[in-house]
Symmetry: C2
Subunit: 328 residues, 2 copies
Amino acid sequence: MANEQFLNTIKKNNLIRKKEKVLLGISGGPDSIYLLYQFIGIRDEFKLNLTCVHFNHALREESGQEESFVKDLCKKLKVKCLSEKKNVGKFFDGDSLEQTARNLRFDFFLKCARERKAKKIALAHHKDDLIETVLMRLIRGSGLKGLRGFSVDSRYRSLQVVRPLIDTTKEEILIWLKKNKIDYCEDKSNFEDIFLRNRIRLKLLPMLKEINPAISQTIHTTAKTIAVDYEFIYEMAQKAFLSLKKRETRKKIYLDLKKIKALPPALFNNVIRIAIENLQGHTRRLEMRHIEEISDMARSRPLHSVVNIPNILVTKDDASLIIQSLLL
Amino acid sequence: MANEQFLNTIKKNNLIRKKEKVLLGISGGPDSIYLLYQFIGIRDEFKLNLTCVHFNHALREESGQEESFVKDLCKKLKVKCLSEKKNVGKFFDGDSLEQTARNLRFDFFLKCARERKAKKIALAHHKDDLIETVLMRLIRGSGLKGLRGFSVDSRYRSLQVVRPLIDTTKEEILIWLKKNKIDYCEDKSNFEDIFLRNRIRLKLLPMLKEINPAISQTIHTTAKTIAVDYEFIYEMAQKAFLSLKKRETRKKIYLDLKKIKALPPALFNNVIRIAIENLQGHTRRLEMRHIEEISDMARSRPLHSVVNIPNILVTKDDASLIIQSLLL
């Protein structure tokens, strides 16, 4: 039987339809094993076609055992299982191991989706993950995009990504697993800044709870409203970007200079982000001060001025703001 | 001589023009005394017409001494001084003493502005105030409006409110005062949750600094970008509100039901906020869950459903969402 909280989240957000094909991202840790059992609990009622997808990052000794554990469990539960092993360290571009791993993992998810003709994947991020993620990003610095955490229902390219555990706490997960005597692999992150996360979990959150005992719910609500606001700005910025874009090559985007200068600052900032994301696939090393620099250049510096930010060069001629990728 | 940081902030944000009339909000504490001396430092160069405005909240024993201190100092520095004493406790409406005091203080500022034909007031909020304010609001729960903290240049009705110390830390202020052997009244807040602020200052911030030594700058930047995003959404919502509003009486606002249901959630939320702010002058007790309730009612509950939130009743007929103030 699936947990009531799980059913509520699915229902409230309309996450799962009957007879759907759903991929489940299963690492083997407690959160994803809980997710798997919840889906097993509704499989018959919803007539679901489930496939577990397991990506073996080959970064730790136990990686092989975890893969076997997931495969064996799937056999036992009569769920299809797709897995792939890739040595993430070999693909590391020197920027962020976590991000490299995430990209490879999602590439694998997309491949599985094509193979299984599925359009949806469920991931096991839960309520504490969300709160820790929001606090981490606040501490490291982030705009709305980061501060919204992750949402219950989002998109990665052609794939709909749902997170049905977003209202469930880690404690609830562990209690349920214990009560139902269910085995799982030990919780070990391959990449994430365990030091920072532990710091937040063991020191910061307890202190915040002393001040506001409902801090988890508060941050949860804040992240949700920020997500709504971000989506609105992002959509408006997308439209603005398309109407400003004069030309796009593999390495350069030309934006109408006069029109971009007339944008409200919130749209200006996000159009620049979208352009850079289009060129290099991410905006990880883009900071607010870079965007301020670009804004100042666009508005008040002479023609052919140049702003140099990590891997990106921005300049202007008399008609265009030109954003250029410096990567090969 | 004014401090370089102070001059930079003024210049970068274009806060002060030559020959301007400027009111200075002076409580007598170190921050406002520093502000006063900085303005004295640029008075001749900018040919400024300065007036100190001091509001005596009459909530503490020392209130009278502080008023005298400010008046005497102004005489010494040859600055006009307007002051008013009002027993804030008597006006307290049971909602928030701090908010009551703020309203009375700003009423006094507006009166001074009319009297002196000034359009601008400078307040002494500094960088640490901003960071503490943002963290307080994060802990208590807040949307973009609260999380942006306060800005260097904003508006209160007809008055332009500037905060030239926004880039200056408390430490820099105290060092400057000490170095220049300048007296001030002791720093005592009348209303603010001193317990929470001290908690943040003495425990939370040091912990955050251990994780990110540049946390102050990080939160400062975050607040600035949030302010930009909020302003954009707020302006769009203002426009939407005006186009949706069918009728407004002293107690009721009728919004076009069909149109409001078609708004993106970020605009829906802010249109509701604006309507409630128009009716009762503030949205202090309005929480996200109230707005979600109204949204659900507007979208999917039967005609004449009612949502009851603090001091406000929301209902709908076949053409309108009707927001009604329950206060006399």
